[in-house]
Amino acid sequence: MTAFWKANQRKLAPWLFLAPGLLMFAVYVIGPIFESMWISLYDWDGLGEARWIGTANYVELFDDDAFYTSLKNNVIWLVLYMLAVPAGLLIAIFLNQTITGIRIYKSLFFFPFVISQVVVGLMFSWFYAPDFGLFYKLIEVFTGQGIAILAEDRFVTYGIIAAGLWPQIAYVMILYLTGLNNVAPDQVEAARLDGAKGWRMLWYVILPQLRPATFIAVVVTVIGALRSFDLVSIMTDGGPFGSSRVLSFYMYEQALSEYGYRMGYGAAIAVVLFAIMMVFISGFIWKMWRDETER
């Protein structure tokens, strides 16, 4: 036994170290992904027997207006959420100075990210609240007619995205602040000698160096956009009349909410969402794989 252990210690050790984590992860994450794909082929209300229906859930999905609304909103989320990247960069540049107290300022700017999205959602609901919300009032002052953002199917998604952007910008800002910290000072100096200033310095010299930060910022922003559930749930519950749904919320609604309990259908939505996400995950993994094997 000990002899065997001695001889194979280094072969076995990694697997022993991996075992607990891998087991948990397999049971709770990897397994369920496939299970969901399987469930999406059933009609099941979570109470009785599941009924095999093949791809019927997907067929239905492709003829479901609510699904398309969610999909469209998801695309809007994705696109607009990307604003967090330039916005975060701007704030980071704005704050990348050394005046007294700047550390406090930076952490206060970062605040929204630390706060739960539930709380953020409540804050913005209050901000948008008709009749007395600050935003409503502001609009009223400027246009004479307040807008209840969360009751307007044209604006509601944008209103929620704005709430989501708030913490997301803070997150991106921190990533960029760290990135700016690591910008090679000698390159900046070389560029100064070369006569690059302001925007051109940013564009030609700084941004290329911030590429890793930008990459991560984009990744977390994409993930944030596609996972968006909390804000929709808190602020509108998908309303008005379902116009602010996104896939992640619609999935929950179909599978677990008051009028839902179509587990199979919900799983099908999740699978579609997963497929979309997989595009980005693959990209990320591909880049990581390249980085890993390069060394």
Binding site: T178, V183, R227
Partner: protein, 281 residues
């Protein structure tokens, strides 16, 4: 350094900057300030339509009311019950997985690693139905440990990415030196690597604390009653009860936000290191 240090610009620009930063900060935190202000606004102010003016008096009683008239204390306790074991569990597991993936060369190393990474980015909705089922079958539905167990498993993905990159950045010679000295693998992990991982552990702990404390989705999926729901889900249902009572909603929100905010302030350096190290590496 970019942009050019403000100290090198004209005095006027410097003054302008020193004014601009706090002003920008106030605008940026406007929603938060509004809510903070509302949380100490007496209910009578709201009834009289005094939403934005200075509160007629500072009503800390709102907080007292939140505590006495709602189970918010219980919700917060539940949050701690879920969060703390999760932090410990996920960090412990990922120290080991991270060590295994960073130190050993074996065939499926990258494969396992990428599996953790990919799993970490999965939209968790796809896990919802099976995980809920699994938790039900394990008899852990609507318990803090059922929720914590899932969080541990799921966070292990991110933590592994983080830990692995951290250990990878340690000098590998340390491990080789120990091997030449005849130290067994487990002891290398325990005596050589683990002590060096303290900063990473601190960073991950605060990070995971915030993530889990702020989790809402799984709280709604895996818990249902006031006895088990953490603060996020609790706040959401209280919001359903406190219609038009913004002073209470605000006070509750502030309370819910407080622990992660405190955590962030106390452990700020670690927190930011965690965010960026895990991400940018």
């Amino acid at each position: 350094m970019f942009p050019r240090p403000i100290q090198q610009t004209s005095p006027a620009a410097q003054t302008l900057y020193k004014v601009a930063v706090p002003v920008a900060l106030i605008l940026w935190l406007l929603p938060l300030l509004g809510v903070a202000l509302t949380s100490v606004r007496p209910a009578s102010d709201l009834a009289q339509g005094n939403y934005f003016g200075w509160p007629s008096s500072v009503a800390f009683s709102n907080y007292a009311e939140v505590f006495t008239k709602s189970p918010i204390a219980g919700y917060m306790l539940n949050s701690f019950k879920v969060t703390i074991p999760t932090v410990i569990g996920a960090v412990a597991l990922s120290c080991m997985t991270g060590f295994a993936l960073a130190v050993y060369r074996f065939r499926s190393n990258l494969l396992v690693f990428f599996m953790f990474v990919a799993g970490n980015f999965v939209p968790f909705q796809i896990l919802m139905v099976p995980v809920r089922d699994l938790t039900l079958n394990l008899g852990m539905y609507n318990t803090w440990y059922g929720l914590a167990l899932f969080h541990i498993a799921f966070q292990t993905g991110f933590c592994t990415l983080f830990m692995r990159n951290f250990i990878k950045a340690l000098p590998f010679e340390l491990i080789e030196a120990a091997r030449v000295e005849g130290v067994s693998e487990w002891r290398i992990f325990w005596f050589v690597v683990l002590p060096l991982m303290r900063p990473a552990i601190a960073a991950l702990s605060v990070l995971i604390f915030t993530f889990i404390w702020n989790d809402f989705f799984w709280a709604t999926v895996l818990t249902t009653s006031a006895e088990t729901q953490p603060i996020t889900a609790g706040l959401s249902s209280l919001n359903g009860q406190w219609i038009a009572q913004w002073h209470l909603v605000s006070a509750g929100s502030i309370l819910a936000a407080l622990p992660p905010v405190l955590m962030f302030f106390l452990m700020q350096r670690h927190f930011i290191a965690g965010l960026t190290l895990g991400a940018v590496k």
